[in-house]
């Protein structure tokens, strides 16, 4: 805490990283959902063939 108080630029870095993690987390979870949906669609199309 003392270090951050004296070097406040690192607080800005932490804040930027939090924004990035929030956006990344959302995209990562969306990516997983898309993968699952793709698998499901592929399985169904194979079953139809």
């Amino acid at each position: 805490m003392e270090f951050l108080n004296q070097n406040s630029l690192y607080i800005v870095l932490i804040i930027t990283l939090i924004c990035w993690f929030g956006i990344f987390g959302y995209l990562f979870s969306l990516d997983k959902k898309i993968n699952k949906l793709e698998e499901k669609i592929n399985k169904e199309s194979k079953a139809v063939k």
């Binding site: 951050l4 108080n5 070097n7 406040s8 630029l9 607080i11 800005v12 870095l13 932490i14 804040i15 930027t16 939090i18 924004c19 929030g22 956006i23 959302y26 995209l27 969306l30 959902k33 898309i34 949906l37 499901k40 669609i41």
Partner: protein
């Protein structure tokens, strides 16, 4: 594709400029930022924290508009758009709250002070938390869409009140906002340019995330309809 490359480069430049440009007492060149008394480097949060709050407002207003469109047309696509906008707004609202709380710890001495801005964003989180609780409690699709559209309209109407009005009625420790009672921009031109670029960049990121999520939700919905047939 070009849009995404421009966005990638643009936001990278915003992050570099926002963090790396030196802060000096009397800026003499365009590449210097002024020292903000009492805040020093912590003033740079404006390039990252304010855009998250801005996107949160845009997303909640978008949710309201799509809610109205759903009630007018009864097309399920608008319900999908409304809930997607609300969920993205909620994400950015959490980001604004967390980043603000960290800044507050090092500026005001505590993570949470019940400052008017902190209180109003907390109430917004509760309002939209209830929106998702409402949606998950109704199984019938049309009823869920109609009720949540009405809720999103009422919730959306409270957003300008909580973000723009309440913090200006009650005295707050929060730094002078851009849209202030005097109607003046109290900001150095370089800072203002980076700030505008950041607002634009974050808005574009929101639109991109929104677009991706809508494309996914549409396919998911079509798949569900096929299964029901």
């Amino acid at each position: 594709m070009v849009f995404k490359i421009v966005l990638g480069i643009g936001l990278t430049l915003v992050i570099i400029a926002g963090i790396a440009l030196p802060m000096v007492p009397n800026p003499s060149s365009f590449f210097e930022l002024p020292v903000v008394p009492g805040l020093e480097d912590k003033a740079r949060i404006i390039f990252f924290h304010v855009p998250t709050a801005w996107v949160c407002v845009i997303a909640f207003i978008a949710s309201l508009i799509y809610g109205i469109q759903y009630l007018r047309t009864k097309e399920i696509l608008y319900d999908i758009k409304s809930v997607t906008a609300a969920s993205l707004g909620f994400l950015f609202c959490i980001l604004a709250t967390v980043t603000g709380a960290i800044w507050s710890k090092f500026t005001w001495g505590a993570f949470w002070n019940w400052d008017p801005r902190q209180t109003s964003i907390f109430v917004l989180l509760l309002i939209y938390g209830a929106y998702f609780a409402l949606r998950s409690s109704i199984e019938v699709e049309e009823k869920r869409a109609s009720l949540s559209a009405v809720y999103s309209i009422i919730a959306g109407l409270t957003v300008p009140f909580f973000i723009f009005i309440i913090p200006r009625i009650v005295s707050s420790l929060h730094p002078d906002p851009i849209i202030n009672p005097q109607g003046k921009i109290h900001m150095n031109p370089t800072m203002f340019l980076i700030f505008l670029a950041s607002l634009t960049g974050f808005t574009a990121v929101y639109l991109w995330m929104f677009n991706l999520r809508i494309r996914f939700s549409k396919i998911q919905y079509q798949q569900q309809m096929k299964e029901q047939e």
